[in-house]
């Protein structure tokens, strides 16, 4: 299944965080396959178990949000297990005999709703500080 050409942007945050958040989407070759949240998690854990065994299948992995219609989810994994989870998602090829693939769209160290708020707060601070400096110059 050839993936559509996607733009790639990388933003590096310097603070070491305990968790990484991944936004993933599961695509099937044929349509009409549905999974509920429990089956989705079972699929993720079995993918890690195949490649890295029982020890790494027990890594604390959480599904924060899941949409059954689009089969997309936001996952949370501890930072030491990110590489293992991502590589096992890459190598997962089928679910119950049907061909599928995982598309990873975002990987962040902070969950998206908090990230937006931080950007907003930083913008406000900058605007106020420039305004403050301008006032001092006038005085």
């Amino acid at each position: 299944m050839p993936a559509p050409a996607a733009t790639y942007e990388r933003v590096v945050y310097k603070n070491p965080s305990k968790y990484h958040y991944m936004k993933v989407c599961l695509e099937f070759q044929d349509c009409g396959v549905g999974l509920n949240a429990a089956q989705f998690k079972q699929l993720l854990i079995s993918a890690v178990k195949d490649l890295f065994g029982e020890v790494d299948a027990a890594l604390p992995l959480d599904i924060l949000t899941y949409e059954e219609k689009t089969l997309s989810a936001i996952l949370r994994i501890c930072s030491s297990g990110l590489v293992k989870l991502w590589s096992s998602l890459t190598l997962l090829g089928s679910y119950k005999g049907k061909k599928c693939a995982f598309r990873v769209s975002q990987v962040k160290t902070i969950p998206s709703h908090i990230a937006n708020k931080i950007e907003w707060w930083v913008d406000c601070f900058l605007i106020h500080s420039t305004h403050f400096c301008a006032c001092i110059n006038v005085i």
Partner: protein
């Protein structure tokens, strides 16, 4: 210099059943360890550990086993050993576990450790034994091993003096 570095894991097979040690075979043990690594560490672990893996020494009477693995992945092998709970041979299943005694870089260091360990075990056996005949036999082995130890030490001192 460029060479493949290995780690040698000296393990002891501990079991209640006396037939378990006698049914130890290097092929049986090798396949058991490989299957356990595949279960515990997955496809990646199985592939990484199987390249330099070998059973180098096996003593069915004392249950001592020497496993060799590559230096980069010896921790995967070491961490998979406690997950071995039984030994299967010709349809019989014997519950057992592996006790890792020593990890060394060469067979010689493992051998030196094993000699000291066996001396200590003989002394423990001497304390715990009840039968008079056994006691005499163990005392003979202990005195012989002490004499050998003194000979080794004097040999080493002579070698150092010559240098």
């Amino acid at each position: 210099m460029v060479r493949f570095k290995h780690r040698y894991l000296l393990c002891e097979l501990v079991s209640d059943d006396p037939r378990c040690r006698l049914s130890l075979d290097d092929r049986v043990l090798s396949s058991l360890v490989r299957d356990t690594i595949a279960r515990v560490h997955g496809t990646f672990g199985a592939a990484a550990c199987s390249i330099g893996f070998a059973v180098r020494y096996l003593n069915a009477y004392t249950g001592i086993v020497l496993l060799r693995c590559r230096k980069e992945f010896y921790q995967l092998v070491w961490s998979a050993l406690p997950f071995i709970t039984y030994l299967e041979n010709k349809g019989h299943r014997y519950p057992c576990f592996f006790n890792t005694l020593h990890v060394g870089g060469t067979i010689r260091t493992c051998q030196k450790f094993l000699i000291q360990y066996n001396r200590r075990q003989l002394l423990i056996l001497l304390q715990n034994c009840t039968d008079e005949g056994e006691r005499e036999a163990i005392q003979k082995s202990v005195t012989r091993s002490c004499l050998l130890e003194e000979e080794e030490e004097s040999g080493e001192e002579a070698a150092e003096a010559m240098e």
